[in-house]
Symmetry: C2
Subunit: 436 residues, 2 copies
């Protein structure tokens, strides 16, 4: 039997108990967490490509933990099966259903790696101990156990974990909401103290704007957690916003890159000094919102708060809010909601409108939210003026405005949105190649 | 708080702890386990039909536990996905993969029942505590926990359990092999002391012969466990043979019936006296076997046993065995194997043939096994003679014969098989309608 010979700040050798034997194994260069989205594992051929990439990372001496999403459109296909049975299926059963998608992916990836001669083992969220709360379909991770993963890594295996899913304390399967695999990857990278959390997707990184709208858009070499969070929230679909929040909070080193190229992607990192020199990091657009205007809300203290309290209670997510100055004894309040939710919330909104004695409600689906994001705004003024001016030159009318410390968003007509993005991208000089 | 008022041989009222409250609930008429095969839940429309049937059983006052297979051809589709990645995928990962099929079914059925206004909850094998050994892809059930199921039944819920799957003591997902959902149903019926274990399938019950071959075949009202076991083993595809063995051992009351009709099916029961009056219960045919003849095996004691030892070690399942009388100093040994395994075992067999100094090996895929089954044979003689005579009249040559206490099997040419079944069905008077 061996014993641990030296014990420094970092173990150079660690002990592992397998059955009754105690085995010694050299520490690797550290853990890399790789997350592959649905398009990266859309079919067996792509899964084999992913396996090669994973194997090559292992070859470089890293312990590799892979998080995988469901194959291509599997989740949507499962949801449509459920839709044929029930319009409002119980969320617990929805989680039971859609969590199978990722289970298929991890098994297939483990097979592909075995076929390449690598030792690999797949796990469901439950098996690996990803403990969540009980909010089915949008659960939050409470705790991640590393015991089983560490054991397999120490045996030299590549560990594959089903993204997007967990288990609550009653052993019920939960899912983490759209983009939840990013959260799985970030959470694992955090608890495993990973050297890097790599998010593989079908784009080469984070761009100054959507290249389909702005052909001159550039891939960013780096971006701060905060900017990435804003951009994700505002419509850039590279990463789930909530997982960016967690990554930033725990300073998890991240990189967004393409699974179809070896090119370096965009590093997401803690804010560094020279990031401030850039006024605006990127321009985003979100065409998925709708505007709701509640007309003639009685201008009494508390009426607006009653409105939004009721909306919150009905689980209606409100984004931007604008209240116009009272004209008479009533005021108009506008807010935006997810466009796809509009139909189902109309009934609820109309009930609320009646209860608070407002006069009318109007809906507008033909809107888009155009935003500029950059931590440079904090120390530079005039960004808003520049933005409004750029839009004015293009004769784009601004319907609502909302600002935060590092972003400014404007609601414009949907048909003018792409034009607005191009104008802003140019106005803030984003198509010029810059060092850093 | 309530206390239990009376305590007879059977509890009329039982206590249930939910959180901190103690609730009282009237005992139902007992537990019914229903198992639905893949064709019964092939699509959302059929799942809704199954839900109605389940709901109507609950309505009659039974506690209902439903076991469901994967939708239609899901398992085969998953296997073909795996096949695109690896010809010999690790069995642990295969189980991880194919167990998702049943998880999809249970979730969808729970949704369908909820849609009908019933309280239902779905479980994976792991969640419900179906503990198996670690033989991936063909695991055996070691233990079934009833705690969670009982808790949900007591709350009035319909419990839906994923068939075909379990979990070993290391939390690894296992599957029970083809037809394993039958085993899940039988195991649950046993531990829950079910009044009846109903196997729903796409045929109306167990027939005297395959109606596609013998149009005059009759549906049996009842059959003994032992006969059903033989018939399942011999090619009747209504039920998995292994689960029949367990059902018989624990005397689990069973019924095979159609999920597309309300007609009564075939009751599988303990052997009763008048069953013996029937000489032959049914005729089966299995066209899936292949014959292997090892020629000129040295006629020394132990050579034949060496052959079959080696075959067993190579995990080659042998069915019928015939050894001809020694002509010179060598003998020919014939046996049958699963036809679909033939290609992959040829190499192994040829190695063995060489090692035991046999001269040659020959293969014959154009065979079929025709069998007659009936517990009546035990007390009646002359069945074999009658069988051989019936085949002789039709000029059907018998290549191998194998008998057990309640069955006689003959290997014949594949192209004569259907004719053989019809001849036997007629010879044993099976197309005559009989009382009982």
């Amino acid at each position: 039997m061996c014993t641990v010979k030296s014990r420094g700040k970092f173990f150079t050798r660690v002990m592992l108990k397998i059955g009754d034997k105690i085995t010694m194994k050299k520490r690797t260069k550290g853990v890399i967490v790789q997350k592959y989205g649905g398009s990266s594992v859309a079919n067996p051929a792509r899964i084999i490509e992913v396996a090669k990439r994973v194997a090559s990372c292992r070859e470089k001496g890293y312990d590799v933990v892979v998080v995988v999403s469901a194959l291509g459109d599997t989740t949507d296909e499962l949801l449509s099966l459920a839709g044929e049975i029930s319009k409002t299926p119980p969320e617990r059963e929805l989680d039971m259903l859609i969590s199978t998608g990722e289970q298929v992916s991890v098994a297939l990836l483990a097979m592909a790696l075995t076929e390449l001669g690598r030792e690999a083992i797949s796990f469901t969220g439950a098996q690996v101990g990803i403990i969540t709360d009980s909010s089915h379909t949008k659960a939050k991770i409470l705790d991640v156990s590393t015991k089983r993963i560490q054991k397999e890594l120490l045996q030299g295996k590549i560990v594959i974990v089903a993204g997007f899913q967990g288990i609550n304390l009653d052993q019920e399967i939960t899912t983490l909401g759209r983009g939840g695999s990013d959260m799985t990857a970030v959470a694992l990278a955090k608890v495993l103290k990973a050297k890097m959390c790599e998010i593989y997707t079908d784009v080469k990184g984070v761009y100054t704007a959507d290249p389909r709208i702005v052909p001159s858009a550039r891939k960013l070499d780096s971006i701060s957690y905060e900017e990435m969070l804003e951009m994700a929230s505002l419509g850039a679909q590279v990463m789930q916003a909530r997982s960016m929040e967690v990554a930033g909070k725990f300073n998890v080193p991240m990189q967004v890159r393409s699974s179809f190229s070896t090119e370096e992607g965009t590093v997401i990192t803690r804010e560094v000094k020279d990031m401030e020199d850039v006024l605006v990091r990127g321009v985003t657009v979100n065409k998925g919102e709708a505007k709701v205007t509640v007309c003639d809300v009685p201008d009494k203290p508390g009426e607006a708060s009653r409105l939004f309290e009721r909306l919150a209670k009905a689980d209606i997510n409100v984004d931007m809010i604008v209240q116009n100055i009272s004209r008479t004894k009533a005021t108009d309040i506008s807010f935006t909601v997810e466009g796809k939710d509009l139909q189902k919330i109309k009934k609820e909104i109309e009930k609320i409108v009646k209860d608070i004695n407002a006069k009318d409600v109007r809906y507008d689906k033909d809107i888009a939210k155009v935003s500029v994001v950059g931590i440079g705004m904090r120390s530079h003024s005039g960004v808003a003026a520049k933005m409004f001016n750029a839009l004015a030159i293009e004769k784009i009318n601004i319907k609502m405005i909302s600002t935060s410390e590092i972003k400014i968003s404007c609601i414009v007509e949907k048909k003018q949105a792409d034009n607005a993005v191009r104008a802003l991208h140019k106005a803030f000089g984003l198509n010029k190649k810059r060092v850093k």
